[in-house]
């Protein structure tokens, strides 16, 4: 708690970042857990006729990047989703609902044709930018082109770089071609915010445009004021094209220390805690707070042990199987994480439509682990550490310093593995070091890390698992495990080229079986972060398909 920088504590717990969020089809958990609209009480009062009141949302990281196309971290999206809109929006149940577009293109409605190569989108009528200028197809064209513009500091060009030949075919009609069929692009566009051409093209350099400090969009809230290091105030856009907004003002309040943030939630200075959420050790107390609702929310992030498959010992599948069999998952979850998180076998979130629930369950069995190693030829040496062909079975597990709960996990694993002749060292470093070249260039031996394995909300994990996605081998992606598997590559290629959900589900289930067998990652648990809000706030609804649960803030209001 006495961490000097709580900003670092955000970085120190990347697992809590729902930065990449999960695929379509997450209705199940919401309905089952009552986190959906039922959580708000039986018959909520109707919204006010005119925007009124304010909400103070507590965040443990500070939003600082306001151009939604430029590099930013997950928390910046809390602002982007209020100011801007996307073509379509993913709902908690997984469906895509048109927003700036009049309908979501599909092969059925002719919006996507030629096997995924030709796209055509009709836009909604009557939308205006916050400054009153009408929104048109030119804005969409400008946005897609800006992302690929050579000098522009675009956050990512994944998917967008395949877009060619953009044509405005009417004031509210746009079409383009794709270099190759790429099904995840539908999901990517649900997270691509459209920016105004008329403001950004006037700037000498869009990287430094005044717009980036005072954004203008089409969303439910307009940019108000910002006190750096403290808060951002947004005001209602009364000409919004959708439902709402019902609040006159929305304040995004930055409280860097998670414990301080929780204290402010307790004393009522912030109305909600979202994002990194309420720390697990306060959960039991928080659920008893009067006048506060505290909910476990679905998250697409997994805690995994990420081996570097180029490590001489970890490259052996038998070693990974033995390691996995001797991780006491339940003890980690129950003892260290207060029973909050959910054990998992898949790289896919359990709410995903592509999730395979029939994967073999991991059983904690050190004896079996020892046998696997014996059979694979890893013999105990004099020092008690197993050896094979002169290679000792020892490696380091790294994670971010200051993540106290993770450090406890490391100790549990260390003890378990020591008993079966595996020597594990703990090598922790600050977040800025871990996530630098150490991670991106695969300089680690193994990492204890929280991350997700998809493309935005699509189940496609090609940039995490593809053989051509290994940065340490000049690849372009985030396959830091350095996993290379021809069968997996073929499946992922097929998955990207197929637009039929049923067929894709089959493909990704095969991939999950393969990953569970090969263990390029050792999945430990799926995160179940805790968020909380003041009673009387209507409309808050966790959405595993949105990156932040301010996704529908335009529809929030206070029961009065």
């Amino acid at each position: 708690m006495n961490k000097p920088s709580t900003k670092a504590s955000g970085l120190a717990l990347p697992a809590l970042h729902r930065r990449e969020v999960l695929a379509l089809g997450a209705g199940g958990i919401l309905a089952a857990s009552g986190l959906g609209s039922r959580a708000q009480g039986k018959a909520p009062p109707p919204p006010p006729a005119k925007p009124s009141g304010q909400v103070v949302v507590g965040l443990s990281q500070e939003p600082t990047a306001f151009n939604p196309l430029m590099p930013g971290i997950e928390v910046d999206e809390t602002v982007w989703m209020q100011i801007f809109n996307t073509m379509w929006l993913a709902q908690p149940d997984g469906s895509l609902v048109p927003d700036l577009a009049a309908e979501v293109p599909s092969e059925a409605n002719g919006g996507i044709s030629e096997g995924g190569l030709a796209w055509k989108v009709k836009l909604r009528e009557g939308i205006t930018w916050h400054d009153g200028t009408p929104f048109t197809a030119e804005d969409v064209k400008y946005t897609l082109e800006l992302i690929n513009a050579p000098g522009f500091k675009a956050r990512t060009r994944v998917g967008h770089s395949l877009v060619k030949d953009i044509k405005v075919t009417g004031p509210l009609e746009i079409s383009w071609r794709m270099e190759k069929a790429y099904a995840p692009y539908l999901a990517l566009l649900s997270n691509t915010f459209i920016v105004p051409k008329h403001l950004l093209e006037k700037a000498a350099d869009p990287n430094t445009a005044p717009f980036n400090g005072a954004p203008v969009g089409t969303g439910p809230f307009k940019w108000g004021t910002r006190t750096p290091g403290d808060n951002i105030q947004l005001v209602a856009n009364e000409k919004y094209h959708g439902k709402g907004p019902y609040l006159e003002k929305a304040v995004l309040k930055y409280v860097p220390d998670q414990t301080a943030l929780y204290a402010q939630f307790r004393t009522g200075q912030v109305d909600l805690i979202i994002g990194t959420g309420i720390p697990a050790n306060f959960y039991a107390e928080a659920v008893k707070l009067p006048g506060r609702k505290v909910v476990k929310i679905p998250s697409a992030s997994l805690e995994v042990l990420m081996p570097n498959l180029e490590h001489p010992a970890l490259s052996d599948k038998a070693v990974r199987k033995a390691l996995y069999a001797s991780i006491n998952k339940q003890a980690i979850i129950d003892i260290v994480f207060y029973g909050l998180h959910i054990p998992t076998e898949s790289f896919m979130p359990q709410e995903s439509w592509a999730y395979d629930p029939n994967l073999p369950k991991q059983v904690y069995d050190p004896a079996l682990a020892g046998k696997i190693l014996d059979d694979a030829g890893w013999k105990r040496s004099g020092s008690g550490v197993r050896m094979k062909n002169g290679v000792p079975l020892e490696f380091a597990v790294s994670t971010t310093t200051g993540a106290a709960l993770r450090e406890q996990c490391q100790q549990l694993m260390q003890q378990d593995w020591q008993q079966i002749g595996i020597k594990m060292a703990i090598n922790n470093m600050p977040a800025a070091v871990i996530w630098g070249e150490f991670y991106t260039r695969s300089k680690f031996q193994s990492l204890l890390v929280g991350t997700a394995f998809r493309t935005v909300i699509d189940p496609d994990p090609a940039h995490r698992f593809g053989s051509d996605a290994i940065p340490a081998k000049s690849g372009n992606g985030a396959n830091q495990m350095q996993w290379q598997n021809a069968e997996a590559d073929a499946l992922m290629k097929q998955g990207q080229e197929t637009f039929d959900t049923a067929k894709r589900k089959e493909i990704y289930q095969k991939l999950q079986v393969l990953v569970r067998e090969e263990l390029p990652i050792l999945p430990i648990y799926q995160y179940a972060p805790v968020e909380g809000y003041k009673e009387g706030l209507i409309g808050y609804q966790p959405n595993i398909n949105a990156r932040q649960n301010t996704w529908n803030m335009g529809q929030w209001y206070w029961a009065k």
């Binding site: 900003k7 971290i73 996530w435």
Partner: protein
């Protein structure tokens, strides 16, 4: 006097250059970098990271980066924050108000109470008051700030509900009284340590003076005790305090790292911590240089004031 000033300024510039080289080197040689915050999420590809690093000039050799930085700095361009996309000067300016508000209030409080406790302790040496003040100062100096801050929050905010648990003001209520209310907690924490320091300095400084011959002479002449203390003793006892005050100026503006974090105070201290953890090089360097200039100015100011307050230390003869 002018020669003295010029010499001091020359030394200061050299010092600033050295500070900048060391600061730049330490910052950039530390492992990790500004791109790590984006890499953590995993939705940017290596090509994206490489492209942005190139656009920020991070892939150039370190000496080249330093010279570019120095050249921009000399022309008054402090650079643009990697994290915030805003000019560094703009960012520093937007955090300094909160820090000044907090530091001025707590320093004033600490000076007044500290001086009073110190003077009284010196006059009534070895009295109960003096002993209590000594013990109190020792305790205050040994309490870790973050711990005391948490205790204040726990007792007065969470427990008693008297004080807000942090922030500069309540959202939606920017009134003066509301701001004063929010100042109390962090001020107590910050003033505690400073009061202890000031009181110890004041006490020893005063003790030295009251034992001087001229005080005894004044007493022998029958000058009223009150006048002796205020006009003769205090004036001279305050001299060493000027140096301490001068050296305290940078703290006023660079903020209190721990207290600002515990009390969610949006000032310079927290900005510095945030910027370091994000490896936001331009902002960290900006704050570093800003603080270095303040330290040099503070000590120069103290030297000059010393000469004004005590003509015996006049520089004109040198």
């Amino acid at each position: 006097m002018i020669a003295f000033l010029l010499r001091r300024l020359g030394q200061s510039l050299l010092l600033l250059l050295i500070v900048s080289v060391i600061g730049f080197a330490i910052l950039h040689l530390a492992p990790g970098g500004p791109m790590s915050q984006f890499a953590a999420g995993g939705d940017m590809t290596q090509a994206d990271l490489d492209r942005i690093a190139e656009q920020l000039g991070l892939n150039r050799p370190l000496p080249v980066q330093y010279i570019e930085w120095l050249w921009r700095m000399l022309r008054g361009d402090w650079g643009v924050s990697y994290r915030d996309q805003q000019p560094v000067l703009h960012i520093i300016a937007s955090h300094i108000g909160a820090t000044l508000e907090l530091m001025l209030t707590s320093t004033l409080l600490a000076m007044v109470i500290g001086a009073w406790v110190g003077i009284l302790g010196a006059i009534r040496r070895y009295s109960l008051f003096d002993s209590l003040a000594t013990v109190g100062a020792m305790i205050a100096l040994s309490i870790p700030t973050f711990w005391f801050g948490l205790v204040v929050i726990y007792v007065f905010s969470v427990g008693l509900g008297w004080l807000p648990s942090g922030n500069r003001y309540t959202m939606g209520d920017g009134s003066f009284l509301n701001q004063v209310h929010h100042l109390i907690g962090p001020c107590i924490v910050l003033a505690l340590v400073s009061t202890a320091v000031w009181s110890r300095y004041m006490r020893s400084s005063m003790l030295e003076v009251v034992n001087q011959d001229y005080i005894r002479t004044a007493r022998a002449k029958g000058v009223p005790e009150r006048q002796i203390l205020l006009r003769h003793a205090l004036r001279n006892a305050l001299l060493p305090m000027i140096t301490i005050t001068g050296l305290h100026v940078p703290t006023l503006l660079s903020g209190a790292l721990v207290t600002e974090t515990v009390f969610t105070w949006p000032g310079m201290g927290r900005l510095f911590l945030d910027s370091i953890s994000y490896r936001d090089y331009p902002v960290v360097m900006g704050i570093l240089m800003f603080t270095a200039v303040l330290v040099l100015m503070g000590s120069l100011l103290a030297d000059l004031l010393y000469g004004v307050a005590d003509p015996r230390i006049s520089r004109s003869g040198r």
